[in-house]
Amino acid sequence: MRRDSLLRSSAFQAAILVSALVILSLTVAGTIAYVQTARSARALYDDRVATLFDSIAQAAAEPGGRGVEELVSTYRYSARQDVPLIWWQPVRGRAMGNLPPNIALPVGWTTLQISTRDGEAAASYRVLKRPIPGGMLTVGRRDQERDRIAREMRGAIGWGLAVALGLALASGALVAQRVRRRHRAFTEAISAIGAGDLAARLPVSRADDDIDRLAHAINEALARLAALVETMQQISTDIAHDLRTPLNRLSLRIDAAHAAAEAGGDPRAELEAATRDCTELAQTFSALLRIAQIEAGARRARFARLDLGPLVAEVCDFYDAAAEDAGMTLSAETPEGAAWLHGDAELLQQLVVNLIENAIRHCPPGTRITCRVDPDPGGARISVRDTGPGIPEAERNRVLRRFYRLEKSRTTAGTGLGLALVQAIADLHGATLVLDDAAPGLDVRLNFPPPAKGAQSSNAPVSP
């Protein structure tokens, strides 16, 4: 069963294919090397044969020198291991030499396989037969090196191919195993996710190869999905939990109005209060849903390039009267040039509004509130700073959560969603939100990314 699935593995098949190609090219290369070597070896040996031939022919042609017969005898009875083949067929006279009988050779070069002595294995000889003055001379030398080279080359190539094949199969199996292991890990993780475990993630190796990058991308998507699901669940919980009380209160007020009318009194005061409660309920509900949608990233498609300075200035212009009525001062510090960013004008207005409303609500008369916009090539910055009581360091993270209220603020009006919305809007814009001590007071700072990033929607500047 296991081997069966190994053979079916695409990695293994790919490895086999590559190995086959490698072996094929090795074979071709080996063959070429063999042929070339053989050819040059042959040329070398032919050279030796020709040299011997020429020296005999030359010596025979020398006047007063030893005749061909004498030379042939010398060579024939040489004690050397490497006895050359030699045959002399004079025009007049008896032939002599050590060629075994019954061997007819053509003129020119021949390769011969014979054994010169009884009991010896046949060896390869390279033979040259040519006419010289006086007769036909045949000279041959043993091609032993060539034999050996041929044998050794064949052996080497054979072994090389065998080893290559073995390595190919082994590495193919190894690679396939590794891929299958990863594959199995992926399949398991995905099954877990499919079964509902949103915390499961695809495993990532340290290799950082393309599969790892794919796994990273999928894991990011899964994280976003899990966050979305959590948000949806959170919304349902929040709505159930926190709208229940105001709904209850509303119901009681209407009952009270009813009772007042029945008793002959004037229900209008209760009804007006009930209307206010309704409005507040609707606002809370709307804010919750808005946060959810912002967190789901639905509005990113409508982002445009806008200048933060005028936007903040307008909001401050709207609120300075309210601040004044509360005994505080609100001022805007906007830069000379433009502070560009990529975002949603309405959401950013809401963000600044929430921060200012928060300051007005939680600070005593005499507080100074300042909204500052800084342009920066690294990204526009907003700071809303007040000289009020500030937020204790321990609470700073928690105030950003939905419905969280500082103990001392529990009785003040407001939904408790203001800062949660600010956080959601900041996240959507890729901005960092920091709550800092203004010593004294609170400084809320946002750093936005520069507008070069993510310019998918229109680039027409939008004035809010």
Binding site: C278, Q293, A298, Y319, A321, E346, Q350, E357
Partner: protein, 225 residues
């Protein structure tokens, strides 16, 4: 005015139709999108109030179809809370204004009134006048009884919206949208603050008040009746 309400929810439509009729308007009801489209193209109305979510033909498609036939009856969209992109989508489809449920009837009535008026040439007017109050829109100058009023730019804008809607109710939400371009709901009491500042400059130094508060609804600028 002749108003057509296209709404499938009985309780909402009963309430709205009754309210509008009490105000003296002629109000007809269509309970599906298709019926609404038929009636809108067959008869003529001054304003249409259309719910976005309806069976058969939804509000958005209805308005698109209406505009495609060249019908330019002003349309006010009603929509459930929480649809973030709806407003822009609605305006792009051809609607003129937009109201999120739950809404107060006063809000609906004020917006319907505002949509219904289309006296010719309002857009190109350069001067507005109510009683002894004059607004020069080119010079951005306000005068009352011949005296120039020292107004901040936003106070001028606020006064302009009130004057363009003279004799009609302008709700706080409408002011937020038209003067400051805010489309969400900051505490509307801030609008009151601005109105009181405006009053201090426009009404207080003079005998007769022109800016009136309409209880539960908003404000209205008119000469005393």
């Amino acid at each position: 005015m002749r108003i057509l309400l296209v709404e499938d929810d009985r309780s909402t439509s009963d309430y709205v139709v009754r309210g509008l009729r009490e105000q003296g308007h002629v109000c007809e009801l269509a309970e599906t999108g298709t019926d609404g489209l038929t009636r809108a193209t067959r008869d003529s109305f001054d304003v249409m109030v259309v719910d976005r979510m309806m069976p058969e033909l939804d509000g958005l498609s209805l308005v698109r179809a209406l505009r495609a036939t060249g019908n330019s009856t002003p349309v006010l969209f009603l929509t459930a809370v929480g649809s973030v992109d709806d407003r822009v989508e609605g305006l792009e489809a051809g609607a003129d204004d937009y109201l999120v449920k739950p809404f107060s009837f006063a809000e609906l009535a004020a917006r319907v009134q505002a949509l219904g008026r289309r006296p010719p040439g309002t857009a190109d007017v350069t001067k507005l006048q109510v009683a002894d109050l004059e607004l020069d829109l080119i010079k951005r100058e306000a005068r009352r009884g011949g005296v120039v009023l020292d107004l901040l730019p936003r106070e001028f804008a606020l006064l302009e919206v009130l004057m363009r809607n003279a004799d009609r109710v302008v709700t706080r939400t409408m002011l937020l949208e038209q003067v400051w371009n805010f489309h969400f709901d900051p505490k509307t009491s801030v609008v009151e603050t601005h109105i009181s500042r405006l009053r201090a400059k426009v009404d207080k130094p003079f005998d007769t008040p022109l800016i009136h508060t309409v209880k539960q609804a908003g404000y209205s600028l008119h000469a005393p009746r």
